[in-house]
């Protein structure tokens, strides 16, 4: 049996899946005390079920998201080695930042050496200011981590109590400022996250569950809870990933669909392209800082069932804020939910109050309640539909760096609009009609997020870069730098090596069984030619375990 739990801002949803069928579900309010919330959710779905039968529990949590939003994390000082390039003052990081000498180039060669006295000075200054956590990040450190390691060793030697986080270990992708932010946030949240992980483990043990525990990441993959300790920031924004995977599990395979999650104040949109959730091309924005965290391409539109509607002159205007419940549920202002009630598209609330809300807006314009309701729903539908179209065209507008990529770009439009969330029922069929799609509101839509968590696959990735001229290779995710000894090292061998590393990684995380059906997501080979002679090759290979979901719900397990 599988358990999925999505801890949202207001509600915590949980499901218990048995042989691909939903056996129990729960919706409990999220309280300040996370542990008791989790226990309540667990107890609700596990009534009469022996904990030993649970093979797998997956959490999706807003814990780190909230921590960062509320700035409740630990202070972290920065020691950076940006080298030549942008004026470092353009990088505005929200903490004390020391810039020291030292630079590595794009091929990992040292171009400016470190100066240890500067390292000592920076560390002395930061510790004197009370910092006990320091993030050390260099430009191109993922191509050569030597400087970062030397600085870290020096700081740790002088200040053994200081926790030092290294950029290349947190984020290996190119983009120095994002690496700084990711490293900073990782450093800042690591301890608090450890505490959270331990209390989750505690709760699970208390309930006699012996299965594996996973945490959902923003990219829709899962990691064993224990392994996630090193990457707390990757657990942010896993909520939208959970609902998208849930939709994937609740709809037929291979569809191109838009997931429309209409909540009280916002509508979250996500895309599924031929059965695969679309990943954002760049890392997530966290508390207005750009990170390297891989996330699904999700768009949040500030319109929801509780959005305030007002008449301004001859216009009826939809605002992004919420001033309470809809009028028909006793709230102070007319809302889209009232419009739906008048049109008979929802059963929420009191129909007379809903009519009254519409008349408040319509009477001065000489419009009937139905006419006003129509106007409001049209406006909501139009706003959401435009955002959906914008997402697709933005996806089409992704830069392409190869001729074949430019030529194979084509216009893709969804065939279905899948509604989840409270406000979905009233709007989804009309949004679908506007986009020329089929509307789908899957069964169990209200707990799609928890279902998505329950069936999300574990994901592991290995990115290998080999530079045969220099005779070195790097495993980005491991921060490992090795030597190439074979003279005939080539693309195939690089791929083999990457797969070996992936297997090693999998073994360390206890995920040996997910190595089937590996995907090669990047394969780039460049001949290096100097003076008309090929002197070596740059090979970039990324392999990852299969993404997506373990099985479709309601259909049963796919073996």
């Amino acid at each position: 049996m599988y358990i999925g739990i999505d801890v949202g801002g207001t509600c915590t949803d949980a499901v218990l899946l048995d042989q691909g069928l939903i056996r129990a579900m729960a919706k409990v309010p999220t309280r300040e005390d996370l542990l008791s919330t989790l226990l309540e959710a667990l107890d609700t779905i596990m009534q009469g079920v022996d904990g030993e039968l649970v093979e797998r529990v997956v959490f999706s949590t807003t814990m780190i998201t909230n921590l960062i939003a509320e700035k409740k994390y630990d202070p972290v000082g920065l020691i950076l080695m940006p080298g030549p390039g942008l004026n470092p003052s353009l990088y505005r990081f929200p903490t004390d930042t020391h810039i020291i000498q030292g630079a590595i180039d794009y091929r990992g060669r040292e171009i400016i050496p470190l100066r240890l006295t500067e390292v000592d000075q920076a560390a002395a200054d930061l510790t004197a200011r009370g910092y006990r956590k320091v993030a050390v990040v260099g430009k191109f450190s993922s191509r050569n981590n030597r400087h970062e390691k030397e600085v870290a060793a020096r700081v740790r030697w002088n200040y053994p109590d200081c926790h030092v986080e290294l950029g290349h270990q947190v984020a290996g992708q190119l983009n120095f400022p994002r690496r700084v932010v990711s490293t900073y946030l990782t450093c800042a949240t690591r301890e608090k996250y450890q505490f959270f992980v331990h209390s989750v483990q505690e709760a699970i043990t208390q309930r006699g569950i012996k299965g594996a525990i996973f945490i959902l990441k923003a990219d829709g993959g899962t990691l064993p809870l224990e392994s996630s300790l090193d990457v707390p920031v990757e657990t942010i924004f896993s909520g939208p990933a959970a609902s998208t995977l849930g939709v994937l599990a609740l709809t037929p395979p291979g569809e191109t669909a838009v997931v429309v999650d209409i909540g009280g104040t916002t509508t979250d949109l996500a895309l599924i392209l031929s059965g695969q959730p679309l990943l954002a091309s760049r890392g997530a924005r966290v508390d207005d800082m750009l990170t390297h965290v891989r996330a699904l391409a999700v768009k949040s539109v500030p319109v929801g069932g509780d959005s305030v509607v007002e008449r301004v002159g001859k216009d009826i205007i939809l605002y992004s804020e919420r001033l309470g419940a809809p009028y028909c549920l006793g709230g102070p202002m007319p809302t889209p939910t009232d419009a739906l009630r008048v049109l008979g598209l929802t059963r929420l609330g009191d129909v007379d109050r809903a009519r009254e809300a519409m008349r408040m807006l319509g009477t001065p314009l000489g419009l009937s309640a139905e006419e006003v309701a129509n106007r409001i729903t049209t406006r909501v539908i139009e706003t959401v539909a435009r955002e959906i179209e914008g997402m697709f065209s933005q996806w089409e507008q992704e830069p392409a760096y190869r001729v074949w990529e430019v030529l194979q770009k084509k216009k893709v439009r969804p065939s279905t609009v899948v509604g989840v969330g409270g406000g979905a029922a009233g709007f989804v069929s009309q949004i679908a009609a506007r986009l020329g799609c089929y509307p789908v509101i899957p069964p169990y839509a209200p707990v799609a997020n928890a279902i998505g968590a329950a069936v999300a696959r574990p994901t592991l990735q290995v990115t290998l870069r080999a530079d045969t001229e220099q005779g070195i290779y790097i495993i980005q995710e491991e921060g490992y730098q090795g030597k190439i000894t074979e003279r005939s090292f080539n693309e195939e061998k690089a791929l083999e090596l990457a797969k070996q590393w992936l297997a090693k990684r999998a073994a360390r995380h206890g995920l040996e069984n997910c190595l089937e059906g590996l995907e090669v997501t990047r394969r780039e080979v460049f001949n290096m030619v100097r003076d008309w002679v090929t002197v070596g090759r740059l090979i970039d290979v990324t392999v990852q375990t299969r993404r997506g979901i373990l099985y479709h719900v309601g259909v049963g397990r796919d073996q």
């Binding site: 030549p84 390039g85 942008l86 190119l174 992704e398 392409a400 001729v403 030619v529």
Partner: protein
């Protein structure tokens, strides 16, 4: 201009090369990509990256006579490079962007009006395609192109040699010491466009300081006088002190400073083959300069510190600047008949060598000296590929602002050439109506291509 962004199309064509070990190969912009990505410049709010777009075949035919047809001279990579420039220009004209950088391959500034093959790594001229596109689609007439490649922009010069509304300024290493061996101060444009072509050959070894003397005392004043509506920079980067093909000593910072002063609407990458030591830094610096950011922290690892100039070279450059300035200032007072002779046509013979494809071309170019328009152009071209029979074609080009008489005469010339058996292909491009015709003698067939109407 405030608050507007700088647009970037980065198209490194990672799957396109002239040949595996050619300088124009997949690897060329690889390290530039690494540097630009690692710096995080694409996250800056002042810079926006655009996806590339393909130019149309008609966009090419509006500029070039490709023999036998456009499709036989261009690959998709060429269409993407040219299309990226027009895409950014659209956004600039519509006011979405303040300026742009088409950081694209393959380059184009050696491609002339008639294209028999690849020369100087170029098949089609991205800047020229952009200019005619701007005129056709946006009604922009006066355009300046400043070519900062170490090699003379002979293709661009050839295409606009008789065009009074396009100012072409090229500074480059002295043609006596480098490909293509042209670009001397005496090349000043045809009779209808005198001093609209300005060539500034630079002695090998010249550095930033004297380069900027030329910029401040010659290029910027001429531009100011010309009052262009749109400025294009053919942004070659092989004047860099580490370039393997050139012998100049410019730095990334020197290039960036030039970009800031020139303040072009659009920079289009041309040459530059120091792919590790120059391109990552020069491209970054140019992008920062366009976006109005500080580029003073961009420094190449091999930068040797200050590079003193040769005083003899400096004074030679000062004299050249004086000389060209006086030519510019007196451009409307010169006796054109004295320079170009009299008669209804001005003609010149050209011998063109295609270094990449080993083609020898002989051209007779005639331009109608018309008092009311720039005059139509005819070109009788014969190309020897080194095998088989040489191919001979006749081309007629009607300028954008042609008068009715020139247009009629030009169509007559086209019809007449169609009846002559020596021409395998006869072409006509009528820029005034955006119509292109091509006639194949052996098939007895004619193709017509009409561009979209303005606003489409």
């Amino acid at each position: 201009m405030k608050n507007k962004k700088t647009g970037l199309v980065f198209f490194p064509a990672f799957d396109w090369a002239i040949s595996p070990t050619h300088p124009e190969r997949e690897e060329r912009l690889l390290y530039t990509r690494d540097q630009i990505f690692e710096e995080g410049v694409l996250d800056l709010p002042e810079i926006e990256e655009y996806a590339p777009r393909l130019a149309t075949i008609h966009d090419i035919a509006r500029v070039h006579f490709c023999v036998p047809r456009v499709q036989s001279q261009v690959t998709e990579a060429h269409l993407i490079a040219a299309g990226s420039a027009t895409l950014l220009a659209d956004a600039i004209v519509y006011g979405e962007l303040k300026n742009g950088f088409a950081l694209v391959r393959p380059p184009g500034h050696h491609a002339m009006r008639v294209v028999h093959g690849n020369r100087g790594f170029c098949n089609i001229n991205n800047e020229a395609i952009l200019v005619e596109y701007l005129r056709r689609h946006h009604g922009i007439k006066r355009i300046a192109i400043v070519d900062s490649d170490v090699h003379h922009g002979d293709g661009t010069q050839d295409i606009f040699y008789h065009d009074p509304d396009v100012l072409f300024i090229s500074f480059h290493q002295d043609g006596r010491t480098i490909y293509p061996g042209t670009g001397f101060p005496s090349e000043l444009g045809g009779p209808g466009a005198y001093a609209r072509t300005i060539n500034i050959p630079l002695p090998p070894g010249l550095g930033d300081e004297t380069f900027h003397y030329v910029v401040d005392n010659l290029i910027l004043p001429i531009l100011k006088d010309f009052e262009p509506e749109f400025i294009v920079n053919s942004a070659g980067q092989d004047n860099h002190f580490t370039d393997p093909l050139g012998s100049m000593r410019f730095t990334a910072r020197g290039y960036a400073e030039f970009t800031r002063k020139l303040n072009p609407h659009l920079a289009v990458l041309e040459g530059g083959y120091a792919i590790e030591t120059a391109l990552p830094y020069v491209n970054l610096a140019i992008l920062l300069a366009l976006a109005g950011h500080d580029y003073s922290y961009v420094r190449e690892p091999e930068w040797p510190g200050s590079m003193p100039e040769n005083p003899e070279q400096v004074s030679r450059m000062q004299r050249l600047v004086e000389q060209l300035r006086s030519i510019w200032e007196n451009r409307n007072r010169v006796d054109l008949d004295k320079i170009f002779g009299t008669g209804p046509f001005f003609q010149r013979r050209k011998h063109i060598y295609y270094d990449t494809d080993y083609i020898e071309e002989e051209q007779l170019e005639r331009v109608r000296r018309c008092p009311s328009c720039p005059g139509y152009i005819t070109i009788d071209s014969r190309a020897d590929h080194g095998y088989g029979h040489p191919i001979r074609v006749f081309c007629v080009s009607i300028p954008f602002s042609a008068c009715g008489a020139c247009q009629t005469e030009a169509y007559d010339a086209y019809d007449q050439a169609k009846g002559l058996t020596q021409y395998q292909f006869v072409y006509l491009q009528d820029k005034s109506t955006d119509t292109c015709l091509a006639f194949d003698r052996d098939k007895g067939q004619e193709w017509v291509s009409e561009g979209p109407k303005v606003g489409e």
